[in-house]
């Protein structure tokens, strides 16, 4: 990188048109992220035609703005109504919603905005100074390494959610089973599709999440109102306090590091990043038992991670022309549409696009902070709207979002069916988060496992002979064994004490 390049970038990003479209992008992104039922990749895809006729750099600035803006926006519904707007926000529901129930929604949203800003900005710096070498590192991650990463993710799942580990694990298993629906990757055979063409690609995250979280919650409220009265809180008390910041800053830092690293791997992504960030935070915390009851670091870590991950995912895209996520795949298509060849030469053949985009991301993150911090109390005051009015509106919007994703009425049906399931789960205290996370991670895990075994012609040795995968698997093993050891020890100590 040369300083002149960045100056070029800022000179492009600061033109009135590009500033305007960066703003439009982050604003739309915030809205798309906030609406349950529309994820960032669908949002970028739906809005792609709008960018036709724009200069390529302007279009990329807007699309990238939607992408990282959606990571800010995804927090809002997770915190306020316990409904993740996209899969990378599922972890945020765990502590964010609990904070909202205690009247601290503003603090959660504010901290998420600050964490996202820090994570986003640090990630842009890394993108700027080291994209090519980082991309080269990212592609060395092969199927065995992804398998190890997914195992690490799933082993931490049990410890994450709800009061009952058994119920959490059970839901994770249901998610894994649902994740097997669709065409078998290696053999091409349809599994559990019952000759329905809509099931060939498996169940999408969004309709399932809308059903389990939003509709399930609504039905439960009809049955047994959780919150008859809207939350009453003073607006002044709605921003994060100094103590909040002290509690959360470690989470922001670790979330940023994990998010950026995992995000830039083409086969991983923001969901697993947010997940690992939350699990790490719980593990290093001095008060792990408080997680899930409304800790600020439980919001800050995954929110920082998903933002860092969305920027990290641009690294293989910009440096090698390889998309690292569904959203960057759409952006790759966009580059092609504008007549550019994405790939390692993009930075030298179209420096204006790369540097303009990088510079716009600094500006976009500032815009998002300015947009989100003062708005946190405003959004939080949405909770003053009676639940009976708020939720039907949300569900209407969510179902339209689910439909618009693939113009599919089938997905609307999926959301409604899972709404019924979500209600029953809520009734008996089964947490939905492990289910939807396993639904997202399960197919990735299976794919990596089978690819690895295909590479090694069936020998599982491949997982331990490759150093990176061996190390990650060792960490995963430790994550299972250490708590067991600690638990046995306390058990024994208690028994010794009793006798």
């Amino acid at each position: 990188m040369e300083f002149g390049d960045l100056l070029l970038g800022f000179s492009i990003a600061f033109t009135p048109t590009n500033l305007l479209f960066a703003f439009v992008g982050v604003l739309l992104g915030t809205i798309i992220g906030a609406l349950p039922g529309i994820g960032p990749s669908a949002g970028v895809a739906v809005l792609l035609p709008v960018t036709f006729g724009m200069p390529p750099v302007t279009a990329m600035i807007m699309l990238a703005g939607i992408y990282y803006g959606a990571m800010y926006g995804g927090t809002i519904t997770s915190v306020l109504i316990n409904t993740p707007g996209e899969s990378a926000s599922v972890m945020t529901t765990l502590d964010g919603y609990q904070m909202a129930l205690r009247g601290r929604a503003g603090a959660a949203l504010g901290m998420a905005a600050i964490g996202s800003f820090i994570a986003g900005t640090i990630s842009v710096v890394l993108l700027m100074i080291a994209a090519p070498p980082l991309a080269d590192f990212a592609v060395t991650f092969g199927p065995p390494e992804y398998f190890a990463l997914m195992v690490l993710g799933l082993t931490t799942l049990a410890s994450l959610t709800g009061d009952s580990m058994l119920k959490g694990l059970l839901m994770a298993v249901v998610g894994l089973i649902l994740g097997t629906i669709g065409i078998d990757l290696m053999l091409g055979a349809p599994r559990f599709t019952f000759d329905n063409v809509h099931l060939l690609d498996g169940l999408d995250f969004l309709p399932v999440a809308v059903g389990l979280f939003a509709i399930g919650e609504l039905l439960y409220n009809l049955y047994r109102p959780v919150r008859a009265e809207p939350i009453k809180a003073k607006l002044s008390g709605l921003l994060p306090t100094r103590q909040d910041w002290r509690d959360a800053r470690g989470g922001v830092a670790r979330g940023t590091a994990i998010g950026f690293f995992v995000g830039m791997l083409p086969g991983a992504g923001a969901t697993i990043a947010s997940f690992l960030a939350y699990a790490t935070e719980k593990r290093v915390s001095k008060r792990p038992e408080k997680f899930g009851t409304g800790t600020i670091e439980g919001v800050a870590a995954p929110e920082s991670a998903n933002n860092a991950a969305s920027t990290g995912a641009l690294i293989p895209l910009m440096a090698l022309g390889i998309p690292g996520s569904g959203t960057t795949a759409v952006m790759l298509g966009a580059l092609t549409l504008y007549g550019m060849q994405p790939g390692p030469l993009l930075m030298s053949t179209h420096p204006d696009v790369f540097w303009g985009l990088v510079a716009s991301m600094y500006i976009g993150n500032v815009m998002l902070l300015i947009l989100n911090l003062p708005l946190a109390p405003v959004f939080a005051s949405i909770l003053r709207v009676p639940y009976s009015i708020l939720i039907p509106i949300i569900i209407g919007v969510a179902l339209i979002g689910v439909y618009s994703f693939e113009n599919s009425l089938f997905n609307v049906g999926v959301a409604v069916v899972f709404g019924g399931i979500g209600f029953v789960m809520r009734l008996y205290g089964y947490p939905p988060a492990p289910l939807v996370l396993a639904l997202v991670l399960g197919p990735m895990l299976e794919r990596a496992l089978r690819q690895s075994l295909q590479m090694s012609l069936g020998s599982p040795e491949i997982f331990v002979t490759r150093p990176v995968s061996a190390v990650i698997l060792a960490i995963a093993a430790a994550a299972v064994i250490l708590p067991l050891v600690a638990w046995t020890r306390t058990r024994l100590a208690a028994r010794a004490l009793a006798s």
Partner: protein, 336 residues
């Protein structure tokens, strides 16, 4: 506009020894002379794309929709609608409900044929009017620039010594790279290890990271990585060398008769009147000749190939037989 099964069988017989693909590659630029149609659309046209936004088919459809509007070929709005899912099964199942409706058209590429052959779709090419074929895409064999294999022959030699030892990264079972793998194994008498990644991007990443030895993307997907010296093109799976890749020998030149091309075309619902079909044929022929379409082909590394009417029906039927034979050999065709 229907196509008799008897004739399909006859075509298939004729093609059993003639590799279907190269014979057709040369005849792409014949512009048919069609009479004007007396029918024209009187409400907005829905242009269904069987893949999601930003992909190759989407870009194809959006480019065409724009040209139709700009050149006044269609004077009602043409709305591109993505109905992705099930490798085309969702979109074509939807199209089959539009029988007799001339205001809906759809893009089609190899999945239009391979998905039904695998038994994943309730409808097949016989349930639609195969309006036109407009271009074809080629495939190139690429290895990591640091790979010891300088030519396809090197790679085949290595595979002979070490059956299953050479890994080829592909996008899905029954996809073009899977077909190339199968043809190459057959032509060279070797056994390769085919590993499915999701989409060409992941396969390219696996190639760059040294996790696979070979991949078979479209030339446009690999162009920059080759130009930047990250990947090396060792064989073109086309009948003749490509204009833009003059230094890359074909597989055939290296002694392995492996050719594959993927068409891109447009289909209509069944049961339209001759006049309605003629209208759309005219649109396709005129669109094909615009500068914008030529630029699109060039930008995306596509070869022009125009087939309309009976020629298009025949081409699709031939391709269908070709894919069916290979997918049957791969063991993934649905048994009848």
């Amino acid at each position: 506009m229907s196509f008799s099964p008897a004739r399909a069988a006859c075509v298939a017989g004729a093609l059993a020894f003639l590799s279907a693909v190269p014979a057709l590659a040369q005849s792409g630029t014949q512009i048919p002379d069609l009479p004007e149609s007396s029918w024209k659309p009187d409400k907005p046209v829905e242009f269904v794309v069987q893949a999601s936004a930003g992909g190759g088919s989407d870009i194809f459809a959006r480019t065409m929709a724009e040209i139709m509007g700009k050149h006044g070929l269609v004077d009602v709005p043409v709305n591109v609608v993505n109905k992705s899912g099930g490798s085309g099964a969702v979109a074509y199942a939807y199209m089959s409900t539009k029988k007799g409706d001339p205001h809906v058209i759809a893009t089609a590429t190899s999945s239009y044929l391979t998905t039904p052959i695998q038994g994943h779709s309730p409808v097949s090419y016989k349930d639609f009017i195969n309006l036109a074929v407009l271009c074809v895409e080629d495939y190139v064999g690429v290895v990591n620039a640091e790979s010891p294999y300088q030519t396809l022959t090197d790679l085949v030699e290595a595979a002979r010594e070490n059956p299953n030892g050479i890994r080829i990264g592909g996008s899905s079972v029954g996809s073009s790279d899977n077909i190339i793998e199968n043809r190459l194994e057959k032509a060279a008498g070797i056994q390769l290890n085919y590993i499915v990644f999701q989409g060409g991007g992941d396969a390219n990443a696996a190639l760059l990271g040294g996790n696979v030895d070979l991949a078979g993307p479209n030339p446009s997907e690999a162009a920059q990585l080759v130009e930047a010296g990250r990947l090396r093109a060792i064989a073109m799976f086309s009948a003749e060398r490509l204009e833009n890749w003059p230094d890359v020998p074909t597989a055939r030149e290296q002694g392995f008769d492996v050719t594959l091309e993927q068409h891109r075309g447009v289909i209509l619902p069944a049961d339209l009147t001759d006049d309605q079909v003629l209208f759309w044929q005219n649109v396709m022929v005129k669109l094909f000749q615009t500068d914008e379409f030529k630029k699109y082909l060039e930008d995306n590394g596509l070869r022009p190939l125009l087939k309309v009417g009976e020629e298009s029906e025949q081409y699709i039927a031939e391709q269908h037989e070709y894919y069916k034979e290979i997918l049957t050999e791969l063991g993934i065709a649905k048994k009848e």
